[in-house]
Symmetry: C2
Subunit: 340 residues, 2 copies
């Protein structure tokens, strides 16, 4: 049988943010309906290289498709470390990995694809799904505390569900070139104007939507900066040693929503809020799928402070990869290989 | 960069049991020296199809190579269920999956290969490594309680470390054709004569090495059958609902050795012995790597009853896949694809 192979460039031709937002909503609904078998994430750190990777696996019992994704961050790549180069001879990107999509009935490998873009885009889409259901409909100003790839994905995705007019960016590690590239990207893809800020507080003050996509190990978003009506997308903290939000931010929130409560109380910033004593597990309002399915209301007033904590679920990769595969087959993109 | 793709046929050309026994010994040593990062196994059952799969992941900190293996048993394949066929148009084998071998420094995907043969062969090799260190050197008679692929691998591998003269086979689900094929395989590959037995007891009685490679959910190897001097390879039980050895077999043993104690007390038959009250965790003698490294003696007398409990470790896949990759590159086997 033939397995479809999709390179990163192939995947880029098959995925757009609009369709991935649909795929991620579908993922949340499927998860909430109890149709996902999803074992605990496998994670490894390669301290020698300051690198870390995860394996996220699940079966979608609706479509009978399994997915296993390996993806990691290899910071040495940006410095040109290691002996491998891209097919064009360039340095490897920091995010690297593959995804295997298989048939749950026979174990047949349907497709193997680069997983870095899928991870980046479906993570951006997750924030947008939360903004669609939990941010104020009149949200105009977004703040983001990084200027890298995920900061692009998040803001671009949010701009598809809310009419952003202003995007404020603060990045502790930002460079003038990085900020300029960020500004150019966002202003070319959305109607918003980008403002570079000097402090977290300056960016956060008066914003409607706050996006936290950093791998910070120390809280930087303080409760003082958080005001009624704000929606916070907490996406950077996905391991027990990371932290972006001061626990008191959770204490102030009216609605704390997780993608998976089981994951977020172990790997998300929710864990830090619980450890810090700001909330207990019972203070979590629910999972995003409950809101998407209409089982629980999302935002109910202009004053609510809402937090979406996402650590990323295998089922998001699964539905996104399935959509990518379908588009690739339709468009004739990719190569085929017979493993068996 | 180029990733090497190896089909099942390609893998078959690169692996032989002798070299995999070496790779598995290396795996056990590396594990014992604390050079393996190995997260807990991910497992999923697809009840609808009576199928089950595992994901085994690790990093070899000696070679800086990571491996992630997905492999599963899909019993419907033997009945021709599902829509996929092999490249030759035949039905798919029951065991299906892939393995990704990557560079831990950069995350670069070095190779992607079929994982079914690797799993089968490295599992056979594991039994042989235990026989080499734990069975009597003058072992002549082996008994095996199945007649499928793993029963072939186990006996063939043991024959490479012990001069087997007789192999007794009992299979509750055996067919005349299956027994004939088994006999032909073993007699063509080893110097042993194969005897088909009608009961477990008949096969076990007086054997030197007993191999339990079935997915049985009920104990069939009873303590009464186990006599001084025997070595038992317990390889079939790899999940909490499986069981081959009556707990009292463990109670009778002088040395209980696991591949990974952490895994075997959760997924191996050791768990059943502990649950059954026949032993406690403290009765486990050690891990096979300690014996291979010479930190603890293996068999010390002709009378000892020894058990090796193996649930299979990711590091076995890792060293086996690395060896397969090296041979493939040397021989020019496989195809290349640029994911990035």
């Amino acid at each position: 049988m033939k397995t479809l192979l999709l390179s990163k460039n192939d995947v880029a031709q098959c995925l757009d943010m609009e369709s991935v937002i649909v795929a991620v909503e579908e993922a949340y609904k499927t998860f909430q309906r109890g149709m996902v078998t999803q074992p605990a994430i496998q994670g490894m750190s390669m301290e020698k290289f300051h690198a870390a990777m995860d394996v996220k696996t699940c079966n979608n019992n609706d479509t009978d498709q399994m997915s296993m994704k390996i993806v990691g961050l290899y910071p040495g790549n940006a410095k040109g470390e290691g002996k491998y180069k891209t097919s064009e001879g360039g340095i490897l990107p920091n995010m690297m990995g593959n995804l295997i999509l298989s048939d749950a009935q026979t174990g047949a490998t349907i497709a193997i694809m680069d997983s870095s873009l899928i991870t980046g885009i479906r993570t951006g889409a997750a924030g947008a799904v939360s903004a669609k259901y939990m941010s104020r409909e009149d949200s105009k100003v977004a703040a983001v505390f990084a200027s890298g790839a995920q900061a692009r994905n998040q803001i671009y995705a949010v701009s598809l569900v809310r009419d952003l007019e202003e995007v404020r960016v603060y990045d502790k590690f930002g460079t003038p070139e990085g900020f300029a590239a960020y500004k150019e990207f966002i202003e070319s893809k959305t109607k918003a104007k980008v403002i570079i800020c000097d402090t977290v507080e300056e960016a956060a003050k008066g914003a409607d939507i706050l996006v936290c996509p950093t791998p910070s190990r120390e809280a930087y978003l303080m409760a003082d900066y958080v005001k009624p009506g704000m929606h916070i997308i907490e996406v950077g903290t996905d391991a027990d040693f990371k932290n972006e939000l001061e626990p008191a931010v959770f204490g102030k929130a009216d609605k704390i929503v997780c993608d998976s409560i089981a994951q977020c109380i172990v790997r998300g910033d929710t864990q830090n809020a619980i450890k810090g004593g700001a909330i207990t597990k019972d203070d979590i309002y629910g999972e995003i799928g409950e809101i998407v399915l209409g089982l629980k209301p999302g935002r109910e007033s202009a004053e609510e402070i809402t937090i979406f904590d996402t650590t990323g679920m295998a089922i998001q990769d699964n539905t996104t990869a399935a959509s990518c595969y379908e588009v690739a087959v339709k468009k004739g993109i990719g190569s085929w290989f017979e493993f068996i």
